[in-house]
Subunit: 344 residues, 2 copies
Amino acid sequence: MASIKDVAAEAGLSVATVSRVLNGHPSVSEDARRRVTAAVERLGYRPNAVARSLRTDRTRTLGLVISDVMNPYFTELARAVEEEARALGYSVIIGNADERPDLQDHHVTTLLDRRIDGLLVSPTDGGSPGMLGAARAGTPMVFVDRWIPGVDVPVVRSDGRGAVRDLVAHLYGLGHRRLAIIAGPAATTTGRERVDAFREALGAYGLPLPEAYIGQGDFQAGSGRLVTEGFLDLAEPPEAVFAADNLMALGALDAIRARGMRVPDDIALAAFDDIPWFVHTDPPVTAIAQPTGELGRAAVRALVDRIGGRTGASVTLPARLVVRRSCGEPAAQEPPSPARRSTP
Amino acid sequence: MASIKDVAAEAGLSVATVSRVLNGHPSVSEDARRRVTAAVERLGYRPNAVARSLRTDRTRTLGLVISDVMNPYFTELARAVEEEARALGYSVIIGNADERPDLQDHHVTTLLDRRIDGLLVSPTDGGSPGMLGAARAGTPMVFVDRWIPGVDVPVVRSDGRGAVRDLVAHLYGLGHRRLAIIAGPAATTTGRERVDAFREALGAYGLPLPEAYIGQGDFQAGSGRLVTEGFLDLAEPPEAVFAADNLMALGALDAIRARGMRVPDDIALAAFDDIPWFVHTDPPVTAIAQPTGELGRAAVRALVDRIGGRTGASVTLPARLVVRRSCGEPAAQEPPSPARRSTP
DNA sequence: CCTCCTCGTGGAATCGATTACACGAGGGAT
DNA sequence: ATCCCTCGTGTAATCGATTCCACGAGGAGG
C-alpha cells in the first residue's frame, strides 16, 4: 500500500509538503497542491490512520460499551450514537458486555489500549476496576442510560418516574390492585430506579409492594420467564406484571403463554422500553418509551465536548407511557364498567 | 500514560528487553522477566496498540460491514462474529450500512484506513467501488449472508432453497393457491435468490408467480407495508404473502392490521429469517430460520484462515422452516377441510 | 589456553505520519 | 542598495512500539 513517501516521490516534493496538502495547511502553493492531489489520485493513496494516530495522539474514535446488543433498545442507541459520531467526524467501536462485568472490563481495556479519544458506557455493574480506573485516569467519558453513583462523569439518561406514575394510574384505573415488578439487577441504576419509581407510584395509591411481588431479573428474557413463573405459582398471584425491560417482558409473555393463560384477561403486562415489535405482539404491549435516539445523540455531543476540553453537561430526558392493550381495554370501550352498564 | 520507555527506566533495562518480555520472547533471563513484570505492575503500563500496529502492520482487528444493525438477524450475526473473533484474539469494528451503498463504502474505506487485518461484508448492493477495490487490492475478505457474483472472495451463507420448498408445500397443503412475495432489492443476492427459490417451488406445484405478486421491497419495514397495501388493492389479492426478511414481514403485519384484516384468516403470512419475537406476534409467524450464529462463526474462521495465508473456503449451511400459525391452523386441527366436514 | 557457541542484553533502525525549525527567494519599505 | 518579512519548502525529530545486529560473558570442546 502506498505511503506518504511514495506520494512525495511521485509528486517530486517532500513528505512535509504532501502532509501539509493533505491536512489543508494554508501555506502551500497552488502548484504543489495540484501536484500532490494528482499523485494521490494516481497512486490511490489513503493516509494510514494508525501512523497518524500515533503521531497526533488522537484516533478520532469513540468507544461504546453497551450492556447487550441483542436488546433492541441498545441497538437503537448504538445506531444513534454511530450516526451522531459520524456527523462529528468520529468512528465508533462497539463493545458488547452481554450484561457481564468481566466482558465489560475486557472491552474497556481493549478500547483504552486502542487509544480511543473517548468512552461511552452503559455500565453493567457497580463499577468494574477497569472502568473506574479509566474514569480516574481522566479518559473523557460519559455514562449513557445507566451510571455509577459517586463517579464524576456526566450522565445522559432518561427519567422514567413520570411515565411509571402514569402507568400505575393506568393500571389502577383498570381495576388492578396487586401489581408486581420484574426488576433489573440491583447493581445497575436502572435496575434500582425502576423499582423505586414503581414503589413510589404505588404508594400514592395506597398500594403496597410486597417482597414477593419484586422478582429479581437480569434484563434477559430467561429471567423474565423464571420470575413470572414464580409470580404465577404464588397463592395470590399478581394481577399485573411490570417488566423493567423489553427482553424480560418477552420472557414473561413466554411464561404466561406456557401456562395457557391470556394477557390481559388473566394477567396484565407492561414493559419499560418500547420497541417496534410491541405493536404486533399478542396482545400489543403497553410500554414506557424512552427517547432513545435523542439519548444517543446527546451522549455523543457531551462526550465530544469533554474531548474538546469543555465540560460536557449531564442530560436527563423524560420517558413517556404508550398505552396499548396488554393491561386491559381502554376505558372508552371497557365493557365491565358499572357506570356504563347502568346508563343504557 | 506510561510508555515502554518508562517501564524500561523503572526496571533498569532497555526497551528491547522490556519488549521481549511483553511478547514472551524466549531469550530473556528470569531476573529480567521479574523486574519487567514488577515495573509494568507498578506503573499500570499497557502497551499502546496503535504503536504496535504501526510497527507490526497488524491490528488484530476485523471489520464487519453489515446491511442493517436494527435488523435482529444482523444483530445476532454481529454478536456471533464478535464472540468468535474474541476467542481467536481479534477485536471487531462494526460498520452499519443501513442498506445504503454510500454508507457501506464509507465504512469500508474507514476500516481500510484503520488497517484492519480482514473484512467481513454483507454487501448492500452489486459492489460499490471501494469494496471492489479492497477485494482487488488483496485485503483478506469474506462475504457473509450476501455476496457479489464474479468477485473471488469466499462466501459464508445459508441456502434457503429447501426451506422455501417446504414453505410452499406447507402453504399449498393449507389450500393457498395465490401466493405472493415481497422481494428484497434486486441488487442483493438474497434479494434475487429468495424470489427464484419461491418461483421454482411454486412451479413444482404448477402454480404461477405473476408479476403483480412480486412486490419490490428494500428489506425495511416501510417497504413491506407499502408492498402489502399494493397486494391488498389488487382485484384478486394473494391468499398468502411471503416476506423476504423479518422487517418487511413486520411492515406487512402493519398494513394488514391497518385494513382491519386478520392473519391467517384473511391472508396468510410467512417470513424469511426467524427471530424471537415471531413467537409472540399476533399470530405467531411461520418463518425460515437460518443458523445465524454458526454462519457468523464460520465466517470469522474463514476470514482468519485467509489472514493466515490459508485458503478460507466458502461455507453453505441449510436453513429450515419453522411452522407457526400465520399461514393457517396445522392440518390436524384444520376446521374448514372438506374431508373432515363430511365425516361427522 | 584458545576458539567457538550460546545466551542475554542493548543500540539503533524502522513503521508512516505530523510539525518545529531552518533556509532561500522575492517583494516592499526605507 | 540594504534590510526585513513573508511565503513556500525541505530536513529532521518525534510518537511507541518491534526487531535486526552487535557485543560481552561464560561454558564447552579441542
